[in-house]
Symmetry: C2
Subunit: 444 residues, 2 copies
């Protein structure tokens, strides 16, 4: 079973509601929008990500015979629903903002228009995919903001929440501006550049640290990055230097060293000096070990001679905000706009567009959220990407999406280009949308 | 591609180290142990989970032809390594504690003994699996501790970190004592009981809330649990009551209502009164909406008339501690015990056993961590589960594991049976282990 795109990757109520909708003949067009209600703590903006996987999921949507047989055996569903599921394919329309686009609360980044039972059934997986990658990209970009152009590498697989989280975190962080990942399968699946060094176990498995370094260099002559904190960091740095004549004789250059524990800035300075004095001024220093954007900023601010950073758990789990307050909400059914009014969870009704206005020098100025049929000013962010279940264009390359993300970062207001809490970016609710909400509440 | 058990779900360095080990003929038995370095914030103990998926992964370990061809194309690996990977199967031994066992920092819950390159290659995925399910079970059990026997249901799929996280969180929380999950595929994959009600969109799609309730009841006559907070909670409760004559005439009983927003305790009291006065005293109240163990405890303490709780994001992401400080460390190679001494990350060397001693009435008293060959007193927690790549016994049922977990909960010290910070449980390091660590540090 490859569960990652099963139609049963859904909540039970999506199926029971579908059964009720079918029985009542409620199959007219439903409009669902995905958006984030409010910024998580420590975020000044969000980065849209995950659309590619959503479109994959929708394109491949079907219920297998094995799944149908199992659904039947549960006794929870009537045969009419099972017949419906047997031939189910996604035939709806999707509009979305491009991955790598910066966005803000209440702005839809995806709209599904499809017959009600179908649009409902895909809710759980769409949220699951967009929540995760958007969350990770929005976390990863904060390290990008503070790293000052130094390479960042994803080391997060081991504490990612499962296999798919490891793979999609590699993708989302690369999209956000990381240089690559250690996760081999992410290289194969998405073409993400791979990076890696060596583990403490490699040193431990040898009786002698110098011998471990030598063996590694012989096996990986083009990528000699040596981990030097297994026992005593500066001692190990001197051992690296001691190896240079032997390696040079074999035509092997030491590319760098990795620091993974202790006071990274202090170790980096001492190690830099040892390497420089040992003729290894070209060798780079990679830092890892519970790094996040705050530690990276502190290391950058301290001018520690670190050339690149590996970020794992904090990024891959978005540890300070491991979920988004996101929703996939019905905003229109059968041509009638609607909205939820639950306490603290009210939404803006109807099909909407986000218009972004730019300041003189091209930076984001403010956004306007307005009904789709109310032509606004500025650049519309949502565009059709799927029509009647078919993609309207080939998937953009991750390289193109990275380019788009980098261009977005260049255009966010200077005040948002920080990991400290910034003033709120202005998202205006248009008079037309406010009027629509009032009309909906009054049952007009 | 079903990525969830690919051998390439690993870090690049596992492959480059394997290449170096092979070239140096370093294929003697390596002993790796998985353990947690320290308790996460707000945890007094941990619950082992994920072993079943680790054994699945190891049993099925292989590199496909497609993966080999891709590895070759990267140009990162020599042909000898590719030949090794082509026929690679896991042939090692595994000892582990049973899933559902309570454990503490520094206690290994899994030991792999295998030729060094093989034991190394599986590191990333083993950590990925054990970190996640152990983390979720250790979070979920906290809700079990405070719920006083009231049913708990996993509603977390939509904000779980990807597909596998959603499925495995359903499994880990069920193991920890939850009653079931909303995730349909978790029902199919693991036989977990499924629960579900209806969404706000169901009410919104109807022009009239009463009609929505009626349609749902007709479609799901055996599971009429109605969501009543879409517009105004108490008004909706009265609408439910108004439907009773019509539903009774059709032989349909209202099983319950769900509250999802606002002051849940206050709403529950008002709704309970409305239901009781309306002849629905048997109808239950399910609460959901950003619940975690603290909110559940507050609701229980307030004696709010809530019959069951659905827990989503907080549990499925372990939101207050979304990763464990866990490690899979080389403790012995070729018969020589070893350990890492990196600052703040030193480990206990050699193959180890955990012995648990019990107090007079059967409760846990203290644990002793000691070398495997030093016969200790008490109950040994690690047992052989795989020998030369083959499982030694069929998989235990989830029901049995839940039983084991419940028995463990009954035996933890009373002081740990709280969600507040408790005194540290005693894990003694045996004199023999302390002596071994010293000997290893002195290169003896």
């Amino acid at each position: 079973m490859n569960p990652s795109n099963s139609a049963l990757l859904t909540d039970l109520y999506e199926l029971t509601m579908a059964q009720a909708y079918r029985e009542q003949g409620m199959e007219e067009a439903a409009v669902f929008e995905f958006f984030v209600r409010k910024l998580p703590p420590h975020r000044n903006f969000l980065v849209a990500a995950g659309l590619e996987q959503v479109l994959d999921f929708l394109s491949g949507l079907q219920v297998t015979q094995e799944e149908l047989a199992w659904l039947d055996r549960t006794g929870l569903f009537r045969s009419e629903l099972l017949r419906y599921l047997e031939t189910l394919r996604f035939t709806g329309d999707v509009e979305a903002v491009a991955e790598g686009t910066v966005f803000f609360p209440h702005e839809p980044i995806l709209r599904v228009v499809a017959p009600l039972p179908m649009a409902q059934l895909v809710e759980s997986r769409i949220m699951n995919l967009l929540n995760f990658q958007t969350m990770v990209a929005s976390k990863a970009v904060r390290s990008v903001l503070v790293a000052g152009g130094k390479p960042l590498i994803d080391f997060g697989l081991r504490r990612a929440h499962g296999a798919e989280a490891g793979l999609l975190a590699a993708r989302a962080s690369y999209l956000a501006g990381f240089s690559g990942s250690a996760t081999v399968l992410a290289g194969m699946a998405y073409g993400i550049p791979l990076y890696g060094t060596m583990a403490h176990s490699f040193v431990q498995a040898h009786k002698d640290e110098v011998q471990a370094f030598e063996h590694f260099a012989l096996a990986q002559p083009d990528n000699v990055v040596l981990l030097i904190d297994t026992y005593e960091t500066e001692t190990a740095a001197k051992k690296v230097v001691s190896l240079v004549p032997l390696l040079t004789a074999k035509g092997i250059a030491v590319k760098g060293v990795r620091l993974d524990s202790g006071d990274l800035a202090d170790h980096a300075r001492k190690v830099r000096r040892i390497l420089d004095e040992g003729g290894l001024s070209h060798a780079q220093i990679l830092a890892s070990g519970n790094l996040d954007e705050y530690r990276i900023q502190a290391l950058i601010d301290s001018r520690a001679p670190i050339d690149s950073f590996a970020v794992g758990t904090a990024m891959t789990t978005s540890s300070d905000a491991p979920a988004l307050d996101c929703a996939y909400k019905l905003q229109e059914y059968a041509g009638r706009p609607c909205r939820k009014r639950s306490e603290g969870k009210a939404t803006w009704p109807g099909r909407k567009q986000v218009y972004r206005s730019y300041a003189d020098r091209g930076g984001f100025d403010y956004d306007v959220l307005t009904p789709l049929d109310d032509r606004g000013q500025g650049e519309p962010l949502l565009h059709p990407v799927m029509k009647e279940g078919r993609r309207l264009a080939p998937s953009p390359s991750l390289t193109d999406l990275r380019g788009h993300m980098a261009a977005q970062l260049a255009r966010i207001p200077e005040s948002l280009r920080t990991i400290e809490t910034a003033p709120t970016y202005e998202v205006r609710i248009s008079p037309a949308l406010q009027a629509l909400a009032k009309a909906v509440d009054h049952g007009l």
